[in-house]
C-alpha cells in the first residue's frame, strides 16, 4: 500500500510538474514576505537594540512580557481596545451591506450606459487620498463655514461642532469610509452577480417571478458564498483600524471615542523608536484578529455550511 501511494505521488508530481513550477513563485512569495517575517515577532519579547539588523532581534536582551505589561498597564488600554473594536464593528455593520445592495441595484439597471456611469462615479472616491478626504471632511463640517452646517442653518438648526464632539466621531468615520469605498467594494459583488447563468433568470421569468423575487430567490442566494467569504476576511481586520484617517481626523476633544490602538502605538512606540513595544501591540492585535476569523469561520460552517477552510 505504501509503495502504491509513493508511486501515485510520483506519477502525480510528474504529471503536474509545470503547474507546480507555476505555483512556486506564489509559495516563495508567502514564505519570504509572510512566513519569514513572522520570526520577527520574537522582537515583541526582547529589548531590541537599534541598528543591530535582523540578527539583532535574536541577540537583544529577552524581556519576556515586559512590553505587553506596559501596554496593559496603561490607564487607557481598555478605551483603546473599545474604540478600535467599535470603529471596525460599525464600519462592518454599516459599510458591509452597502456594496452588496449597490451591486444588486446597479446590475438591475437596464441601460448599460447609465450602469457604467454610475459604477465609475462611485468608484472614483476610492482613489482620493486619505489626506484629501480628511481635509474635505473638515471643511464640509466646519461650524463656521462648512456646507453641512450652512444647510442646517437654512433649516433653522444651530451649527453642530462635529469635529470636536466625541459622539460624532464614529458616525463621521463610518459614513465617510462607506462613501469612499462602497463603489470599489461592490466590484466583486457585481462580478459575482454577472456570473449567474442567464438561464436561471429566464426560468424565473417563465415562472412569473417579479424583480423582488428574482433578487431574493436568485441573486442573493447565488452570491451568498462570496458574501460570506468577504465577511470572514473583513472580520480578520477587526482590530486594525486605518491609522492615517483617525490620525488626521482626531483631536484632543474627541480622544474619548477616537483614540485607537494604532494612534496610541504611534505616540508611544514609533515616535520614540520603541519598535519592540510596537511589535508587542501588533502581535496582540494579530492574535485577536486571528481568533475572530477562526471563530467566524467555524460559526459560518455551522450556520450556513459555507466556510473558507
Amino acid at each position: 500500500m505504501k509503495a502504491e501511494t509513493k508511486r501515485r505521488w510520483k506519477k502525480n508530481l510528474k504529471r503536474d510538474k509545470y503547474l507546480l513550477i507555476m505555483i512556486l513563485p506564489v509559495v516563495i512569495f508567502y514564505l519570504v514576505f509572510c512566513y519569514f517575517p513572522m520570526t520577527g515577532l520574537y522582537m515583541a519579547f526582547t529589548d531590541y537594540r537599534i541598528g543591530s539588523g535582523l540578527a539583532g532581534i535574536f541577540n537583544s536582551d529577552f524581556v519576556g512580557l515586559k512590553w505587553f505589561q506596559q501596554f496593559f498597564g496603561s490607564v487607557y488600554v481598555w478605551r483603546l481596545v473599545r474604540n478600535t473594536f467599535l470603529l471596525s464593528f460599525y464600519s462592518l455593520i454599516f459599510g458591509f451591506p452597502i456594496p452588496i445592495l449597490f451591486a444588486v441595484a446597479v446590475t438591475q439597471l437596464q441601460r448599460k450606459g447609465i450602469q457604467k456611469v454610475v459604477q465609475v462615479s462611485t468608484y472614483l472616491p476610492y482613489f482620493i487620498s486619505t489626506v484629501v478626504v480628511c481635509g474635505m471632511i473638515k471643511n464640509f463640517l466646519s461650524p463656521s463655514s462648512g456646507i453641512i452646517n450652512q444647510f442646517l442653518n437654512v433649516l433653522g438648526i444651530e451649527s453642530i461642532n462635529f469635529m470636536s464632539m466625541p459622539e460624532w466621531f464614529r458616525p463621521i468615520y463610518v459614513i465617510s469610509g462607506s462613501w469612499q469605498s462602497f463603489g470599489f467594494n461592490s466590484i466583486i459583488f457585481v462580478a459575482a452577480i454577472m456570473g449567474i447563468s442567464p438561464d436561471l433568470y429566464e426560468a424565473m421569468k417563465m415562472d412569473g417571478a417579479n424583480k423582488r423575487q428574482v433578487i431574493w430567490h436568485l441573486v442573493l442566494p447565488s452570491i451568498k458564498p462570496t458574501i460570506i467569504l468577504l465577511l470572514i476576511m473583513t472580520l480578520g481586520s477587526m482590530m486594525s483600524v486605518g491609522f492615517e484617517k483617525v490620525y488626521l481626523l482626531y483631536n484632543t476633544a474627541v480622544y474619548e471615542t477616537a483614540d485607537v490602538i494604532q494612534t496610541y502605538v504611534y505616540r508611544q512606540g514609533v515616535q520614540s523608536n520603541n519598535y519592540s513595544y510596537a511589535a508587542a501591540v501588533g502581535l496582540f492585535n494579530s492574535v485577536v484578529n486571528f481568533t475572530i476569523v477562526f471563530a467566524a469561520n467555524k460559526l459560518s460552517r455551522k450556520i450556513t455550511d459555507t466556510a473558507i477552510w
Binding site: R49, I50, G51, G53, K138, S142, S144, T252, A253
Partner: protein
C-alpha cells in the same frame, strides 16, 4: 508542447526572480577607526579651508533629504555643487523624500541598512538611541581635523552643552534655527485695530475688551456683525499665547524656578487652574470659537482672505508671508497687515514668548564608514563660515552683492523666491546650515523685519535640549504618553466646559496616579546635568 514547457518554466523563473529581487539585505561592514592623522595620502593637511583633500577621486556617500520644494533638485543646485567642488571631492547623494524622511530613514537606521558615510538623522536622537547603538562616530575624537566645528562649539557653549552626550562625547554636527527671531508671536489685524480706535492690547483684560469689540461690530464692513470671528487660534498655540500670562511654560510643560527646581506646569494647582478658567470664560462667551480644537492653518488663511478675523498666533514668518498677503486690502505696509505685538501680561505675571531650541537638523558620521576622517573633514568644511555665507546669501554676484563697507544685500533676481530655491538657498536638507536673521530680514517686508527686531526682546529660551540616559528614556517612554494624553484631554474638557472646573483637584490627583513624580525626578536630574555642563 515544448514551447509551452519553455514558456512555463521561464515565466516561473522570472516571477520567482522578480520576487526575490527586493530581498537583498543591507550588510554593514565594520568601520575603521584608525588614528587621526590629518594629512591625506598626498601629504596635504586640511586646516579648515577648501579643499579638504587633494587626493584624486575622493568621494563620500551622503544620506540626506530632498528639498521641500518639489521642483528643486537640491543635489544639483549651484550652492550645493559649489560646496562639494570646492571641497575637492565628489558626493554620491542618497536623497530621501523630505516629507517621508523620518518614516523612511528611522527603520533604515534601526535595521542597520544604511550604506553612507554621512547621515542626516531622522530626528535629534534625544534618547541617544543611535548613540547607544554605536551607529555614529564620536566627533570630538576627530576635532584635530575639524577646526571649524570645534571653534564654533567653543563660541556657542549652550549648544555645546546640549550636544554633549551622557558619555561626554559629541556625536553630531547640527544645523541651527534662529532661536529668538521669527518665533511664534501674537499678531493683530491692524486695520481692525485702527477702526476700533485701539492700540494692541498688552494685558489680558485689554485683550478681552478688544475681542468683545471685534465680535460686536462690523469690522469687515460687509453690513453684517455675525461673520466676525474675533480670533483664529490653532489649539497648539494656546499655551504659547496665554501660558506666560499665568506664569506657566506649558509649551514643553516643564520649567525650572529660580532655585533650579523643576516643576510640571500642567500640575500647577493655582496658575494652571486660573489659565483654564480664563480660557473657559472666553469659550463660553464665544470669544474662543467652538471649533478651535480642529482648526488648521489652511482654515485660518481662508478666513484672512475673506477678512473675517482679527487676531492670529503663529510663527512670525507667517505675518507678512502668509497672513497679511492674503488680506484683500494689503498694500505692502504695516497699516493694512497682520502686525506682531507684545505678549499678553496679567496683574501677576509679565508675558513673554517662548523661543525655539536652536539645534536643527543633525548630521552624523557612520561608524561603519571606511572614510571617517574624510567625512569629518567634509562636515567641518560644510559648516565653515564661507559655506554658511553661501547657504544664507547664495552666490556672490548672482544672488547678492557686497558693498565697499562689506554689507551684503540681495540682488533684484533674488527677490524671485523660486529662482533662489533653485540656487539651493538654505540647504539644511543636505548640509548643516545655520539660519541667519540678516538674510531672513532681507527676504520679508521691511515693516516685518522691524517688527521682528522689536519683538525679540520678549522671547525667552525654551526648555533646553537634554540627552536622556537609558534609564531616563525608559521612565519617560513608559509614563509620558499617558500623562500627555491625560493632560491634553482634560485641558480641552475644562476649556470647553464638558468637565467642570470643580473637579480640578481630582485632575491633579489623577496626575499623581500616572507617576508624574517619577518623570519629574528624571527631568530634575537632566536639568541638573545641563546646568552643570553650562557651569551654572
Amino acid at each position: 508542447m515544448k514551447k509551452k514547457q519553455v514558456l512555463a518554466m521561464s515565466m516561473a523563473a522570472v516571477m520567482a526572480a522578480g520576487m526575490l529581487a527586493g530581498c537583498g539585505s543591507g550588510n554593514e561592514s565594520a568601520g575603521s577607526n584608525g588614528p587621526v592623522g590629518g594629512a591625506d595620502s598626498t601629504g596635504y593637511t586640511y586646516a579648515g579651508e577648501a579643499p579638504i583633500t587633494k587626493e584624486d577621486g575622493a568621494s563620500l556617500k551622503i544620506l540626506a533629504q530632498t528639498s521641500n520644494y518639489t521642483n528643486v533638485d537640491i543635489a544639483s543646485a549651484e550652492i550645493v555643487e559649489t560646496v562639494v567642488a570646492d571641497a575637492g571631492i565628489t558626493v554620491d547623494w542618497q536623497l530621501v523624500d523630505y516629507a517621508n524622511y523620518t518614516d523612511s530613514v528611522s527603520p533604515m537606521l534601526t535595521t542597520g541598512n544604511v550604506d553612507a558615510d554621512i547621515v542626516l538623522l531622522p530626528d535629534q536622537d534625544q534618547n541617544q538611541t543611535y548613540i547607544k547603538s554605536h551607529k555614529f562616530v564620536a566627533l570630538d575624537e576627530y576635532f584635530s581635523v575639524m577646526p571649524n566645528f570645534s571653534k564654533w562649539l567653543d563660541a556657542n557653549p549652550v549648544i555645546k552643552a546640549e550636544l554633549t552626550a551622557e558619555d561626554g562625547h559629541i556625536y553630531y554636527v547640527p544645523g541651527t534655527n534662529v532661536g529668538k527671531d521669527y518665533q511664534p508671536v501674537l499678531m493683530y489685524n491692524q486695520k481692525w485695530l485702527d477702526e476700533a480706535g485701539m492700540e494692541a492690547p498688552e494685558t489680558l483684560d485689554e485683550f478681552v475688551e478688544m475681542l468683545r469689540y471685534f465680535k460686536e461690530h462690523d469690522m469687515n464692513g460687509n453690513g453684517s456683525t455675525d461673520d466676525e470671528i474675533p480670533m483664529s487660534i490653532m489649539a497648539d498655540y494656546l499655551p504659547y499665547m496665554f501660558g506666560p500670562a499665568f506664569g506657566l511654560d506649558i509649551v514643553s510643560g516643564f520649567q525650572a524656578d529660580a532655585d533650579g527646581n523643576v516643576v510640571y506646569a500642567y500640575a500647577d494647582s493655582e496658575n494652571f487652574k486660573a489659565y483654564l478658567e480664563f480660557l473657559n470664560g472666553l469659550y463660553e462667551e464665544g470669544l474662543l470659537e467652538v471649533e478651535y480644537t480642529s482648526l488648521d492653518r489652511d482654515q485660518v488663511i481662508e478666513r484672512m482672505s475673506k477678512d473675517l478675523t482679527g487676531v492670529a498666533f503663529d510663527f512670525s514668518w507667517a505675518m507678512s508671508m502668509m497672513y497679511s498677503n492674503v488680506l484683500p486690502y494689503y498694500d505692502g505696509t504695516a497699516d493694512t497687515a497682520f502686525v506682531g505685538a507684545a505678549p499678553l501680561s496679567s496683574a501677576d505675571y509679565k508675558g513673554y514668548y517662548v523661543g525655539r531650541v536652536e539645534l536643527g537638523n543633525m548630521f552624523g558620521v557612520c561608524a561603519s564608514s571606511k572614510k571617517i576622517e574624510l567625512a569629518c573633514k567634509f562636515l567641518d568644511y560644510a559648516m565653515s563660515e564661507p559655506c554658511q555665507t553661501m547657504y544664507q546669501w547664495g552666490i556672490e554676484g548672482e544672488s547678492y552683492t557686497v558693498d565697499a563697507s562689506g554689507n551684503k544685500s540681495y540682488t533684484e533676481q533674488a527677490s524671485d523666491n523660486d529662482w533662489l530655491q533653485q540656487l539651493g538657498i538654505n540647504p539644511s536638507f543636505v548640509f548643516p546650515a545655520q539660519q541667519s536673521v540678516v538674510s531672513t530680514d532681507a527676504l520679508v517686508a521691511d515693516w516685518h523685519a522691524e517688527c521682528n527686531a522689536w519683538q525679540q526682546q520678549f522671547v525667552v529660551d525654551p526648555w533646553p535640549f537634554i540627552y536622556s540616559t537609558a534609564e531616563e528614556s525608559e521612565v519617560i517612554n513608559t509614563y509620558m504618553v499617558d500623562i500627555e494624553t491625560y493632560v491634553n484631554e482634560n485641558a480641552t474638557a475644562f476649556i470647553t466646559g464638558t468637565k467642570s472646573l470643580d473637579s480640578f483637584d481630582s485632575y491633579i490627583e489623577g496626575l499623581d496616579a500616572l507617576k508624574l513624580q517619577e518623570v519629574l525626578t528624571v527631568k530634575q536630574n537632566q536639568y541638573n546635568r545641563y546646568s552643570e555642563a553650562l557651569g551654572k
